[in-house]
């Protein structure tokens, strides 16, 4: 695995802030960012359900492995030199349900969180 493509929601302030933060981190695996359901994304992944990618963060590696939502976030953490250990910790069987719940909660409320944090355009 050489690169991960992150299909993010360009409408959400929190996601843009996360994008900025990620671009500053040192990486073990290259991260590419693509707005979800964009022409670019549709062209690169013709078989992917692009309506699904609008609901939650989607990560696809260069071999076509797809990770939705919390799994996508764990893969992004895994790509970062400083947080690879954390991706295993958060993906451990004891913590994975909590990780999924917290990430899903943040993801579903991302517009409200962005507005509350003043991250909107």
């Amino acid at each position: 695995m050489q690169a991960l493509t992150v299909l993010y929601d360009p409408e959400c302030g929190l996601c843009r802030r996360a994008h900025e933060w990620l671009s500053e981190q040192s990486k073990i695996i290259e991260l590419k960012f693509m707005p979800c359901a964009s022409d670019e994304a549709r062209k690169r992944y013709p078989q992917l359900d692009h309506d699904l990618t609008k609901q939650d963060l989607t990560v696809v590696d260069d071999l076509g492995r797809v990770y939705f939502g919390p799994k996508g976030w764990l893969m992004v953490l895994w790509s970062l030199a400083r947080y690879r250990d954390w991706s295993y910790r958060l993906a451990a069987p004891e913590l994975l349900p909590t990780t999924k719940r917290v990430v899903s909660m943040i993801s579903q409320n991302r517009y409200q969180i962005s507005r509350a944090a003043g991250l909107n355009r």
Partner: protein, 135 residues
């Protein structure tokens, strides 16, 4: 020479001898371990080994010196031996503690240096999709 002075001198002799013996043992047997930790870099292993032994000497001699004072009168050979047993016993316990601490540090260094970077993704993928490499 009073009995107190001779107690002190015997205490110092036993403590110093024990410290030197433990330090030499550590120095001799720790080397192989450190060479392995530093992936065969013998110069670095010897340097770290030496620095560890210096620290070990400093801590132990420091303790031996601080614990010298008896604080009570010793008038007979019997009392002298009793006082020595307490003092030397404490030195032995400190040496033992230091020894295990050293072993713990060594094994931790070794485990760290041998830890392989984990290349397995933390989670399995949800699904697979075709990738249009040109796009």
């Amino acid at each position: 020479m009073t009995i107190v002075i001779s107690t002190y001198l015997i205490y110092l002799a036993i403590s110093i001898a024990l410290t030197i013996w433990v330090a030499r043992t550590l120095h001799k047997n720790g080397r192989v371990f450190l060479v392995d930790v530093f992936h065969g870099n013998e110069a670095l292993a010897d340097s770290v080994n030496h620095l560890l032994v210096v620290g070990f000497y400093l801590i132990n001699f420091g303790y031996v010196t601080l614990a010298l004072k008896l604080g009570y009168a010793v008038t007979s050979a019997e009392q002298s031996i009793e006082a020595l047993s307490v003092k030397v016993g404490m030195v032995l316990l400190v040496l033992g503690g230091m020894h295990f601490f050293n072993l713990f540090i060594f094994s931790r260094m070794r485990r760290r240096s041998h830890a392989q970077p984990n290349n397995q993704p933390p989670v399995p993928p949800d699904t697979f999709t075709a990738v249009n490499q040109e796009a």
